[in-house]
């Protein structure tokens, strides 16, 4: 009896259910229409170029195109291994990127800690506001300014001369390129980098400071034992996320600051790919280097997000 009743109920419900499903699907059509333009952009400018990676395994010539060029297997990768320049470029990339990550993070954290000790509100606000102006300017603008400041007739050399010191052609010396790149990167971005630490600082319980003060901790000890542990999770999180960036040494900055005299220390993967691929038209070789870089880079980013999740409980989605 119960059985037949239930069967009857489903039979009754079925047409309604189908209609509801039909209605739901019809209502969803706009959702697909909305995704179409984005899908086209993704297909043409993200995924079709990914297919173009195949030319890393070809001897690509523009006339024959992606589909007609002869396959050469791993020849381009053998050429990379045999090329002494590549080892140098990888070394430059790593040392510059790691230098930038470490110095930038160090300066940002120190700046945030010291700014937190400032009691006069307007002074604190002014310093912070000025500290991240440069973040919004492009490397083209800042590069133009730096080239002039550091040139032989520039302000820095005028100051050196005024102090009775020898003038230095800063950007002509291979030995100075990486320090200049690392420091100027920190100069551009420390104020911006500090924002996240300053936000973390506001969430530290003021009671901790009072308790530490009652226990006789001076300002220095409160900074080391209360403030620093308070922002430690943020520091760890950013260190993890930065790990994904060790192959990105800052192409735009290097492109405006370097010149043939400093290639030895300044040339990085991205600038090499740009020159070899586009200026010298070695399409297949440059694509192969680019492919190695993106593949290792993807692995590093995945690793960095995994670490960020494990160590700091961070998720993008």
């Amino acid at each position: 009896m119960a059985q037949t009743m239930r069967v009857g109920a489903t039979q009754l419900a079925r047409p309604n259910e189908a209609a509801a499903k039909h209605w739901r699907l019809r209502r969803q059509i706009p959702l697909y229409v909305m995704l179409i333009p984005g899908a086209i952009i993704l297909a043409l400018f993200h995924y079709y170029p990914m297919y173009g990676i195949t030319i890393a395994f070809q001897d690509y010539t523009p006339v024959k195109g992606f589909f007609g060029s002869p396959w050469v297997g791993l020849k381009q990768f053998e050429r990379i291994l045999a090329n002494p320049d590549i080892a140098l470029i990888v070394r430059n990339t790593l040392s510059m990127a790691i230098g930038k990550i470490v110095i930038h993070q160090l300066v940002s954290v120190t700046f945030a800690l010291l700014l937190n000790e400032i009691r006069i509100a307007w002074y604190k606000r002014t310093v912070q506001t000025l500290s991240y102006v440069l973040h919004f300017l492009s490397w083209m603008i800042l590069g133009g300014i730096l080239l002039d400041l550091l040139s032989l007739g520039g302000l820095v050399n005028s100051l050196l001369a005024g102090l009775g010191l020898q003038k230095v052609p800063f950007l002509m010396q291979p030995g100075l390129f990486q320090p200049i790149a690392i420091l100027s990167q920190a100069w551009k971005e420390f104020g911006w980098g500090a924002i996240i630490y300053l936000a973390a600082l506001t969430s530290i319980d003021p009671g901790l400071y009072e308790a530490a003060a009652v226990d006789g901790a001076g300002r220095w000890r409160r900074m080391v034992h209360v403030t620093l542990p308070g922002i430690a999770p943020t520091i760890i999180l950013l260190a993890c996320l930065n790990l994904g960036q060790v192959l990105n040494a800052g192409m735009e900055q290097v492109l405006v600051l370097y010149n043939p005299r400093t290639y030895v220390t300044a040339d990085i993967l991205d600038t090499w790919v740009y020159r070899a691929g586009l200026l010298q038209a070695q399409y297949s070789l440059a694509t192969a280097v680019g492919l190695l870089k993106s593949t290792v880079g993807l692995g590093l980013v995945a690793l960095s997000y995994w670490l960020a999740d494990r160590l700091a409980g961070y998720r993008v989605f």
Binding site: M50, G218, T287
Partner: protein, 293 residues
């Protein structure tokens, strides 16, 4: 909190104020110096006499920059790029973020999300993109500057998370009243997301104004360069080669150095003018994407 007035504390405070003050100055003095050089006369500028205040004040350099046909053309390309690129960005970001932000499941939703994420972290690299642009006959057109970056994936995630933060009851009750998805997006979601959209507009505008590498790569003729790509020739190369872009007669009157400085300041000016807004909305943007759903 207990205030200490020990001498150590006083010394620390003094040093700290001086140090941070100098750091802040270090960020703005180079800009002020460049502005001063751009407003200085030839002799003073060439002799390196200009520090933070213009010597032999003149507006000649800016006049020359604006008279330069190539500079004006580059400025026009940049303005066109902003006019097309920014609205296109906002349109595509909103259209993609809305369906993905809904709780409602539909076929392909998760797949699309993964395609989007993968596209953010992996790319074919510079050369395949360049060859793609060439085979699509987009080189040397404005589209080469706006289409490849038409869908900034990070911004999609920011807006998607903002949409998820809106009360779901709004969309539900509208849908019971018979509103279509188009109406929910345009009449409810977008008006409620104005702060997020303001942030994304600024992200996009600053990005388009500052971008120069794509211009260098996708524009074969320098006459098609946007402003900041043009600076690569008129400022960076000129500085490195010690050459001057102006004609010799002109250089009797003005200095190449001041001319370069004027172009740099010109390119930086829109950003500096918008700075109060940027400060407010960009910082909001930092936290906007962090709403988890």
């Amino acid at each position: 909190m207990i205030e200490e007035r020990s001498w150590k504390s006083v010394v620390f405070d003094t040093l700290n104020y001086v140090l941070l003050g100098s750091l802040a100055l270090l960020c703005v003095l180079p800009l002020i110096h460049t502005a001063a050089v751009s407003l200085s006369g030839r002799a003073a500028s060439e002799a390196g006499l200009v520090a933070l205040w213009p010597e032999q004040f003149t507006l000649m350099n800016y006049h020359q920059v604006m008279m330069n046909l190539q500079f004006r053309r580059a400025l026009l390309v940049s303005l066109l790029r902003l006019g097309v690129g920014v609205p296109l960005n906002l349109l595509l970001i909103s259209l993609v973020a809305y369906p993905l932000s809904l709780n409602e499941r539909f076929a392909g939703k998760n797949g699309f999300k993964w395609v989007l994420l993968f596209g953010m972290f992996f790319s074919g690299g510079l050369i395949p993109l360049y060859l793609t642009m060439r085979s699509l006959h987009l080189l040397d057109t404005l589209w080469a500057l706006v289409l490849p970056s038409a869908l900034p994936i990070f911004s999609v995630i920011v807006l998607l998370n903002f949409f998820r933060g809106l009360p779901p009851e709004l969309a539900e009750s509208a849908s019971i009243d018979g509103a279509s998805h188009w109406q929910i997006l345009s009449r409810i979601y977008l008006p409620l997301s104005l702060p997020a959209l303001a942030t994304l507009t600024l992200f996009s505008a600053v990005g388009h104004w500052n971008a120069w590498f794509d211009g260098l790569v996708f524009m074969l003729k320098p006459s098609n360069y946007p402003l900041q790509s043009y600076l690569q020739i008129s400022v960076i190369l000129m500085n490195q080669m010690g050459l001057e872009s102006a004609d010799p007669d002109l250089l009797q009157v003005i200095s190449g150095r001041s001319l370069r400085a004027a172009q740099i300041i010109f390119a930086a000016l829109p950003i500096l003018c918008l700075y109060p807004l940027l400060q407010r909305y960009f910082i909001k943007g930092l936290t906007l994407g962090s709403v988890k759903g």
